[in-house]
C-alpha cells in the first residue's frame, strides 16, 4: 500500500476538520461565563448544573429511545426494500419513491405528518416522533444498501439456492453478510441523524415528551448555556470509551 501513502493527507484533514469544533466545544464546557463567545475562566459549574437539570436529562432519555427505535426499524425496513428494489424492480420511479423522504424539505415532511396525525387522530408523543424518523431512516438505509447491492455478485446466492437453502436462510446467511458494511453505514447514518433532528421532531412530538434538540432549541431565547457543552462532552467521552472498548473486544475475539 506504499503507493497510497498520500491518502493520509485528506484523511488527517477530514478528521481534523470534524474534531476541531469538538475541541472548542469541550473547552467551552469548562467556561465560567455562560456565553459561548467570551471566556470567563475555568469552572466545572456547568457539570453540576447539568446534573440537576431534569428537563435536559429527560430530553436525553427521550432522544435515545427515539434514535434507537427509529434506527432498528429503519434498518429492517430499509434493507428489505433495498434488496427488493435491486432484484425486483426495473422502475426508476419506484426507486425515486423509496428514496424520496431523503429529498423532502424536512419542514414539509414535518407539517405534513402533523396534519396526517391530526387527521387520523393519533395523539402525539414519542411514538409519533419515532414513526416520523423512520420515514427518512428507511430512505437513507435503502439508498446506502442499494448502492452496495448493485456491486454484489449474485452467484453465491444462486449457489446457495441450488444447494436447496430456503429463501429466508439464503437471505440471512448469504445476502445480509455480504451487505453488512452498508447496513452498518446506513444504520449509523440514521442513528446520527435522528439524535440531532429538530424540525420534524418539533412538529410530531407531544407537549410532554420533548426530545433533547427541542429542549436545547427552546433555550435559545435566554441563551444556550455551556451546560449543553458539558452534556455533549460527557456523551463524547462515553461514546469514545464504548467504541474503544468494543474495538478491544473484537480484537481479543479475533486473536482467539
Amino acid at each position: 500500500m506504499r503507493s497510497l501513502r498520500w491518502l493520509r493527507v485528506p484523511f488527517v484533514i477530514t478528521y481534523a476538520f470534524l474534531y476541531l469544533p469538538i475541541v472548542v466545544l469541550v473547552v467551552l464546557s469548562f467556561n465560567a461565563s455562560s456565553s459561548p463567545f467570551s471566556w470567563g475562566g475555568f469552572s466545572t459549574r456547568w457539570y453540576s448544573v447539568l446534573a440537576g437539570d431534569a428537563d435536559v436529562l429527560r430530553g436525553l432519555g427521550n432522544t435515545l429511545v427515539v434514535a434507537v427505535g427509529a434506527t432498528a426499524l429503519s434498518v429492517v425496513l430499509g434493507t428489505l426494500l433495498a434488496v427488493g428494489l435491486q432484484r425486483h424492480s426495473r422502475s426508476g420511479l419506484l426507486d425515486a419513491f423509496a428514496l424520496a423522504p431523503a429529498i423532502m424539505p424536512d419542514i414539509v415532511l414535518g407539517i405534513g405528518l402533523l396534519a396526517f396525525f391530526s387527521l387520523v387522530s393519533v395523539t402525539l408523543g414519542l411514538h409519533s416522533v419515532l414513526l416520523a424518523h423512520v420515514v427518512f431512516g428507511i430512505a437513507f438505509v435503502a439508498a446506502v444498501v442499494k448502492a452496495r447491492m448493485s456491486q454484489v455478485d449474485s452467484s453465491l446466492e444462486e449457489a446457495s439456492r441450488d444447494l436447496g437453502a430456503g429463501a429466508v436462510s439464503t437471505f440471512l446467511r448469504i445476502t445480509v453478510p455480504s451487505i453488512m458494511p452498508a447496513i452498518i453505514a446506513g444504520g449509523l447514518l440514521v442513528f446520527t441523524l435522528s439524535l440531532d433532528e429538530f424540525v420534524i421532531a418539533f412538529f410530531t412530538d407531544g407537549p410532554t415528551t420533548p426530545t433533547l434538540p427541542i429542549v436545547i432549541y427552546s433555550m435559545v431565547r435566554f441563551g444556550v448555556t455551556p451546560e449543553i457543552n458539558a452534556l455533549a462532552s460527557l456523551l463524547m467521552l462515553v461514546s469514545f470509551t464504548a467504541v474503544l472498548a468494543a474495538q478491544r473486544i473484537t480484537r481479543l475475539t479475533d486473536s482467539v
Binding site: S118, T208, P210, R221
Partner: protein, 380 residues
C-alpha cells in the same frame, strides 16, 4: 377530543388505498383536521364554566418559552390550587403557531405567545375568551394593560410581560451614543460592520418604518417599497441579522450596537454595565407576551386558575427580577422595579411611556408581503 365538525366517515378510509384518494381525504380533512380558517368561528359562544369545579381533578399542559417563569411555579401551583401542571417548551412564536393551528387538540391548555399571535389565534376561533370572574388577579394589571391594540380589553389574552424595541450599545466602544434609528440604518464609520438587526420580519422592518415616519403595521405598497430600499442599503453595513445571540456579541465586543428588545438588552447589561439601551427618538413599538387558553382545553377552569396564579404579585416580581422584563402588573413593579431600575434603566419606563410605542397587530392579508420584502432584503 372535541371537534367542531363531524369527522370524515371511516368509509372514506376503506376506499382510500392509493395516492389518488388522498386528495379527497385532504379535502375532507381540511374542514376538520387541516388548518382551516373560518372567521365566523370566532363568534362561537364561549363555554360555560363552573366556578366551583373540583380543580384537583384537572391537570394542565402549559406551553411557554423555557426559563420564562419560575421553575417551582408548577409545584407551588399544584400545592396551592390542586391541578398538576406539565410544562412544554417552544423556541419561537412561529413554531407553536404551526402546532396550535394544525387543526386538532394539541394537548396544550395554556400557551404563552406574543400579542399579534394571540390575535391571529383568536381570529381563527381557537381561543377560549377569558372569564374575568375566574381571574380576580386581573385587578393587579395596570389600566394601560387593557389598551393593547392586538386585543383591547384583554378579551382572549392576558398580558404577561411587555416592553419595547430600541438600540442596545457599548457606550465604551461607540464614539457618539445613538439617538436615532438612522444611527443603525446608516452607521458611522466606526460602527460599520459591527451592528446587528433583529431577524424576525416585524422587527427587521421596524427601524426603517419608524425612521421614514410610517406605521409599524403599514401594508401600503408604496411605503413598504421605500422601507425595502432603505433596508437593502443597510444590509452591507451589518455584521448579521440576529435574534438570539446579539447581547452576547455586545459583551464580547464583536458587535458594538444592536437592535434589541429591552429585556434582552438587560442580559447584556447584567454582564457589562457599559452596555446601554435607548429608544430612538422616532419612536418604536410596544410588544407584549400573553397567556391564552385554547378552546380545545378540557381543563378550562384550571387554566383560568393558573393564569390567576401567575398574575399574583409575587410570581410577577420573580419575572422582573430574574428575566429583567417589565410586567404590566402594578403591585409587582411597585415592589421591585424601582430598586432594579438603577442598574437596568429601561425597567423604569412607565406604562404611559410604553403606550406611546405603537402596538404591533397581526397584519392579516399583509403578512405575505412582509415576508416577501424580508426575503428580497436579506437575499440582496
Amino acid at each position: 377530543m372535541r371537534r367542531h365538525v363531524p369527522a370524515p366517515p371511516r368509509a372514506t378510509w376503506l376506499v382510500a388505498g392509493a395516492l389518488a384518494s388522498t386528495l379527497a381525504l385532504a379535502a375532507c380533512g381540511g374542514s376538520t383536521g387541516g388548518p382551516a380558517t373560518s372567521d365566523a368561528s370566532s363568534t362561537l359562544p364561549s363555554a360555560s364554566l363552573d366556578a366551583k369545579a373540583d380543580l384537583s381533578k384537572q391537570s394542565l399542559v402549559v406551553d411557554n418559552w423555557k426559563d420564562y417563569m419560575p421553575a417551582d411555579l408548577p409545584a407551588n401551583f399544584e400545592k396551592a390550587v390542586g391541578p398538576k401542571v406539565t410544562v412544554s417548551y417552544h423556541a419561537t412564536n412561529e413554531e407553536i403557531m404551526a402546532k396550535l393551528t394544525a387543526g386538532t387538540d394539541s394537548g396544550i391548555d395554556v400557551a404563552f405567545v406574543s400579542g399579534p399571535f394571540a390575535q391571529a389565534l383568536a381570529a381563527q376561533g381557537l381561543l377560549e375568551p377569558i372569564h374575568p370572574d375566574l381571574v380576580p388577579n386581573l385587578s393587579n394589571l395596570y389600566p394601560e394593560a387593557s389598551k393593547l391594540t392586538y386585543d383591547i380589553g384583554n378579551v382572549y389574552s392576558v398580558p404577561y410581560s411587555w416592553g419595547t424595541t430600541g438600540l442596545c450599545y457599548r457606550s465604551d466602544l461607540v464614539k457618539t451614543a445613538p439617538t436615532s434609528w438612522n444611527d443603525l440604518l446608516s452607521p458611522a464609520a466606526d460602527v460599520k460592520g459591527k451592528t446587528t438587526m433583529l431577524a424576525t420580519d416585524r422587527w427587521l422592518m421596524l427601524p426603517a418604518q419608524k425612521l421614514l415616519g410610517y406605521s409599524a403595521n403599514t401594508v401600503d405598497p408604496a411605503e413598504l417599497d421605500k422601507v425595502k430600499s432603505t433596508l437593502t442599503a443597510t444590509k452591507p453595513t451589518l455584521l448579521a441579522y440576529d435574534d438570539t445571540t446579539f447581547y452576547d456579541r455586545l459583551v464580547s465586543g464583536e458587535a458594538v450596537m444592536v437592535e434589541a428588545w429591552d429585556g434582552w438588552c438587560n442580559y447584556g447589561i447584567a454582564k457589562n454595565p457599559k452596555i446601554k439601551f435607548v429608544v430612538p427618538k422616532e419612536g418604536s413599538d410596544l410588544w407584549a407576551d400573553t397567556m391564552v387558553i385554547l378552546k380545545t382545553s378540557k381543563n378550562k377552569e384550571a387554566a383560568h386558575a393558573f393564569i390567576n396564579y401567575v398574575l399574583d404579585a409575587k410570581v410577577q416580581s420573580w419575572v422582573v427580577e430574574n428575566i429583567l422584563y417589565k410586567v404590566p402588573n402594578k403591585p409587582a413593579m411597585d415592589a421591585v422595579a424601582a430598586k432594579l431600575a438603577e442598574s437596568y434603566p429601561n425597567l423604569g419606563i412607565t406604562p404611559t411611556e410604553l403606550l406611546k410605542g405603537e402596538g404591533l397587530v397581526d397584519l392579516g392579508a399583509g403578512a405575505p408581503l412582509y415576508s416577501k420584502i424580508v426575503t428580497e432584503v436579506t437575499a440582496s
